[in-house]
Amino acid sequence: MAPALELSGITKFFGDFLALDAAHLSVDYGEVHALLGENGAGKSSLMNVAAGLYSPDSGSIKVAGAPCRFSGPRESMQRGIGMIHQNFKLVKRFTIAENVLLANPRGSFRAGKAAIEREIREKAAALGFNLEPARRIDRLSIAEQQRVEIIKALVAGAGILILDEPTAVLTEGEAQRLLAMVRDIAQAGAAVILVTHKLRDVKAFAHRVTIMRGGKTVTTLDPARATADDLTTLMVGSNVVTPSRSTKSVGENRLTVTALASATVEGLTPLVDATFSVRSGEIYGIAGVGGNGQTELADALVGGRQPSAGTIAIKEPGSPTLAEITTATPRQRRDHGIASVPADRQSFGLATSLSIVDNFAVGFIHDGRFGTAARIDRGSMRRATEAAVREFEVQGVRSLWQRAGLLSGGNAQKLILAREFSRVPSIIVAHSPTRGLDVRACAAVHGRLVAARDAGAAVVLISEDLDEVLGISDRIGVMTRGRIVAEFDAPADRHAVGRAMVDHV
């Protein structure tokens, strides 16, 4: 029998960035097939190709042996492929039945609703749980919403079910129940693709596993025959990264974070008890799978959101005492010499509708160097921006007054670095600073971080890209479920770090 889904030679570029490099995957009916890899390995991109959300630049898709080409998710759904995304696609104010009906029109609304309600009850009963179709989505727990998504796909007749990181938002018990259910769905004849980075789930619930790294398919194997160590090695690779330098001038503690915790927001992992310190002249890399509290940590450090417990203290160069900044405003933190490179640069790094000059000058204008409160001096703003743009090699600037949103990702990031580093910060918080950048822009950003460190700054580098963390960090902390669970000195054993990341300490 032909495989349920066969993807071969799938290549996909986003701009200059190669997200998928001739990736392939073959899934049979009746099996739970895990797709394993680090963040950015290309798992989600590949699945979005299968679901018709991305059209590949090259490669072929076969469903049950028949070649197809999808111009949208509807066409993929017609071929029996249903994808359950990490962020549920449900209308919160509608009932379960209305949501299912929205995705599966059934003639008239009234008659359709009755039919859909019956179908929902049947499918839910077959999977061994209860789902009252008249309940509103916003009254449901996350786990229940996920069941609605699954029912929605099954009602649509999906014979191939793709679940993108389904357990990321669930508690331990819910996750076990979900995976057992997924196994039942496969037992009944469907093909289930489980996108995950959790080795334990793979070993316990998958019939086969395909491992991806850097947009390529590494291999497909039977997880029962491989050890967790083997899988880790395949997932994170075994290339040895040489540390960029030997530790030379590490100084005193600059930043001390003690027992930091953040309030729980539904669906997100809060900070539970993050404790670490960073010294002058070192890069402290925080490795970890995305969604383990990194965003909350970065927010707490730069003042975007107040932590619910714990303290952040800093020691400025030349100052004999520690200053606590746990509740300081972003402005106060900047005045203490903290620079921030946010993960989402389009939302938090730049005002994309304003000019390059504005975006640069906003970081300094309050100290009076660009004119008085009553009259700003655009000439000096422009000159300072011009100098910084040249020094930080921001390219693609046709005019300094052009919208910052017109810059490419790499150049936008360089503009942010220009603003943040021009003041010679003593502490730098960089969150995924190279996400989505091409190799050259990556190197430029890393060069800036290393240069700032060599100039004596304490750098916190939060990244989901293990290569990045291993490549330039002097010390590495691994963050899992809101805690720093392990620390390593550079050069760190890639394998050990990888294991700590995926709960195998």
Binding site: R334, P342, A351, D358, V362, G363, I365, A373, I376
Partner: protein
């Protein structure tokens, strides 16, 4: 899209709006030939032009009031309530004879502005402290202000000489002086504030911060923009300017506080800010155009018994047409068979 094409799109949409309005007016009984005459008279007839300029001053003030509030993403729909309080505060100065005659007008203006700031401070506080939507709170507070005004005009402030619901006539020192040609001091006063607001928005540091507060407040906060003080400044300015409009209408036109002196200005102010893209200088020009519409509407009311609400309807039609033109500015249209 280049600027000239945008201008063409906006001008075209205004023309479309006027055309639709013209059709409605003709259907309701205005002869087509008179329609053009009445509108042209605003510019070519001296008396009408004076009426337009008199009408323009308060419209300019509410227009820039709305635009400075909108720049801070504070959707101040309480312009009329602030005008009412401006009128009440100015009239209080008249009724209680506060200050010497020579200082009477500046005091009235000052009291009006302070009252407007106090009134807008309520929704501003509610929004910044408790995240209460200011669109609702400013709008509803208009009714509170209006009923307070009625209470004064039907009660303690009622003119004893004729028993109508309006305040006693202002003394001559309390009326904005005529500068000749029938234009009173309200217009230059309004233009001075246009200059101030324009400067504030374009050249002051707070104006620079406002750009970030409008474009991306979350990012602005992270790079150290002092959001709360700057928003407060802009909101208080907005309230003060609207209230100043509430001072120049009674002092410049009727010479007393009347029951409906503020009617229609709130909506017009929002409209002016919208059409002027929150730019104070442009708002002054748009306000003059809206003033023409007001004056034309008044003569339609007299000569053709067209209700004044028709003026507001025409404004609404033009707003909708301009809003629709955004679609043509943001999208490129390609005909496909």
């Amino acid at each position: 899209m280049p600027a000239w094409k945008q201008a063409v799109a906006v001008a075209g949409s205004i023309a479309t709006g006027m055309l639709i309005s013209a059709v409605i007016l003709i259907v309701s009984g205005v002869p087509a030939s008179d329609l053009v005459n009445e509108f042209a008279m605003n510019v070519f007839d001296r008396q009408s032009f004076q009426a337009v300029l008199v009408q323009a001053a308060p419209l300019i003030l509410v227009g820039i009031a709305a635009s400075i509030g909108f720049r801070a993403r504070f959707w101040n729909l309480g312009l009329e309530g602030q005008m009412v309080w401006g009128g009440i505060a100015a009239t209080a100065v008249s009724i209680y004879h506060i200050g010497p005659d020579a200082l009477r007008l500046p005091l009235m203006a000052l009291f009006a502005m302070l009252a407007g700031m106090a009134w807008v401070a309520i929704p501003a506080f509610l929004r910044m402290r408790f995240a209460v939507n200011e669109i609702i709170s400013t709008l509803l507070l208009n009714y509170v202000a209006t009923y307070f005004l009625y209470d004064l005009l039907y009660g303690p402030w009622k003119d004893a000489s004729d028993a109508y619901p309006h305040s006693p006539l202002y003394a001559s020192a309390e009326r904005l002086p005529d500068l000749g040609h029938g234009v009173n001091a309200a217009l230059p006063l309004a233009l001075v504030f246009v200059l101030i607001v324009w400067w504030f928005a374009e050249f002051s540091r707070s104006g620079f911060y406002l750009k970030f507060i409008y474009a991306n407040p979350a990012m602005g906060q992270l790079v150290g923009v002092p959001i709360i003080p700057v928003v407060w400044t802009a909101v208080l300015m907005s309230g003060a300017l609207a209230a100043l409009g509430g001072f120049v209408v009674p002092s410049g036109i009727a010479g007393r506080l009347t029951e409906g002196f503020f009617a229609g200005y709130g909506f017009s102010g929002v409209l002016i800010a919208f059409l002027a893209r929150n730019n104070a200088a442009t708002a002054a020009v748009v306000a003059v155009l809206i003033a023409m519409l007001f004056v034309t509407g008044q003569s339609f009311q007299i000569f053709y018994q067209i209700p004044f609400a028709m003026v507001q309807m025409i404004q609404a039609i033009i707003v909708m047409c301009v809003a629709a033109s955004e679609f043509f500015i943001r999208h490129r249209i390609r005909l496909q068979r």
